[in-house]
Symmetry: C2
Subunit: 320 residues, 2 copies
């Protein structure tokens, strides 16, 4: 039932993307901007925005500009992150910089960024609600940059603490979920407490989502994941799993070793399993998401609220 | 008198930048964002915004958030452009990617981008004026990306026509001048005709500015310019000068030759002088700026209007 409900919202977003981001001259730029968007994706952030709006009595149809804006911001970060990570594959396709080169990928990302604000500023809502949403989205984008910067610093540090990691993940990943939900609430005229509760829900479930995502990156085979298994290991990422294992005195030879073989990656995986670090991260993800769900108590019961609860559970149960 | 008047506005912007963009954690990110900003610069775009506001009866002090936002957008484009152009030096300093590496320079640019919208969304104006300004600034940023994309395409084409070049320059450079002035007008409550006139003035003078800038890149020695002379030639840029020379049948051996020697660049310069292409570009810049100035007829006489006229002249008379 949850998957079906999410699919309906994702379908609305899928339909809206080409309407708000048509191919116009210079066409090739817009093809580059649409490359990852057209490859699909779960549309979790825009779906969360639609559901948040519905949960406070708003109408999903009126939220499509904002929903598309949030998905564009997400895709902009993917394009630039892939350049930084020198990633070749995303969603089973060549990454934008692999296909168009780094300079054009930088521009395609930048253009998605500005289109997001352009589309949001044309939403059918009160100017004050639009101004508030844009302020939130821009602050969120700054947070994402700060989180990405912290993440890069962590890769050259050995002593990252769990709390620092959580703070980084909040900025890099969770605030966009949080902002999506709060924007859905703001544009639907929700009051401050309700908007804030949806932000809290989005932020906590977003952290849980990312911790669980790091687990998935480790344990999911390439043919399902659409990108190389254990990529975070060879990139040297200090995920919660790695932080836990290192704190238990584990030695992970493949960590940060960009030319690690498949068997070295397998050995690293075994060590992370044996140290209990994968289970530890899974449990942390679950408890953080549970805390997020409790923030929704302020909302009256509704179908949308149930789906949001289901979305939170989905975030830590999905297989990829 | 004009230079003094511009210096006063630039000084206001210089003071406002650290207020609106303080160094906060992660500090190093903010140092990277401030690197080019702190190196100075003429602040022409934010000064134009302040003057446009003054010319329609607004107060410069109230426009500082918007002025800083526009300067941040300009600096964001410089950081990303330098990555794409693989430029080492800007304003006499190492470029951001030279100092911090490409991934961090991408983030620093992205963060300036979001800060610009964040600062503009907090301007002390009516929500409807803020929403309109943000819509304009975001559309302008999309235009800049389109212009940059066109510029890159032109470098691998031999048949760029003058009109295409002007269209590219409008998007890549002029629309930010135009938007700066229109935002100054919008936030000061100017009517639609006046706002539009200031946009026209900014767009035309911006095109003139860029054509003249291409001339300066050619004829100014490195020690004054702060970057290598003739960089546009070895990058293969189809500037108006090059387009004119090629249309006259000139052969420019150093064009697009990244390892061209100083004497090859000098030879290219002589050819561009002899073909009359440098004079042609100068004259085009002058006539476009004159057309821009005539757009200001709609405004009542004022000190700010006189300074704007002077700014237009300055754009095609400055030495670097």
């Amino acid at each position: 039932m949850i998957e079906e409900a999410l699919k309906i919202r994702a379908g609305l977003v899928d339909e809206a993307i080409p309407k708000f981001l048509p191919i116009t001259p210079p066409d090739e730029l817009y093809y580059a901007m649409r490359h990852l968007l057209d490859a699909g994706g779960k549309r979790l952030r825009p779906s969360a925005l639609l559901l948040a709006a519905e949960a406070v009595g708003g109408r999903a149809e009126n939220m499509l500009p904002a929903a598309v804006a949030v998905e564009l911001v997400h895709n902009f970060t993917l394009i630039h992150d892939d350049i930084m990570d020198e990633a070749d594959i995303r969603r089973g396709l060549a990454t934008v910089h692999k296909k168009w080169g780094v300079p054009r990928a930088i521009i395609a990302g930048d253009a998605l960024y500005s289109k997001a604000f352009e589309i949001l500023s044309c939403a059918r809502s009160e100017p004050s609600q639009i101004a508030e949403s844009i302020e939130l989205l821009s602050k969120t984008c700054t947070d994402i940059c700060e989180g990405q910067w912290m993440d890069m610093n962590f890769q050259i540090r050995k002593d990252v603490a769990e709390q620092e990691y959580i703070r980084m993940v909040e900025k890099k990943t969770a605030v966009l979920f949080a902002a999506a939900m709060k924007i859905g609430a703001i544009l639907s005229g929700a009051n401050r407490d309700v908007s804030r509760a949806l932000w809290d829900f989005g932020c906590r479930t977003g952290v849980g989502f990312q911790i669980y995502d790091d687990v998935i990156d480790l344990i999911t085979p390439e043919e399902i994941l659409g990108k190389a298994q254990g990529g975070d290991i060879i990139e040297g990422k200090r995920t919660l799993i790695v932080i836990h294992a290192l704190s238990k005195g584990a030695t992970i030879d493949a960590l940060g070793k960009s030319n690690a073989t498949r068997s070295e990656i397998s050995a690293a995986l075994s060590i992370l399993k044996e140290s209990g670090s994968i289970d530890y991260a899974m449990n942390r993800a679950v408890s953080i998401v549970e805390a997020g769900k409790s923030a929704l108590r302020i909302l009256p019961d509704s179908e949308a609220k149930s789906i949001l609860i289901g979305l939170a559970d989905y975030m830590i149960e999905r297989k990829y």
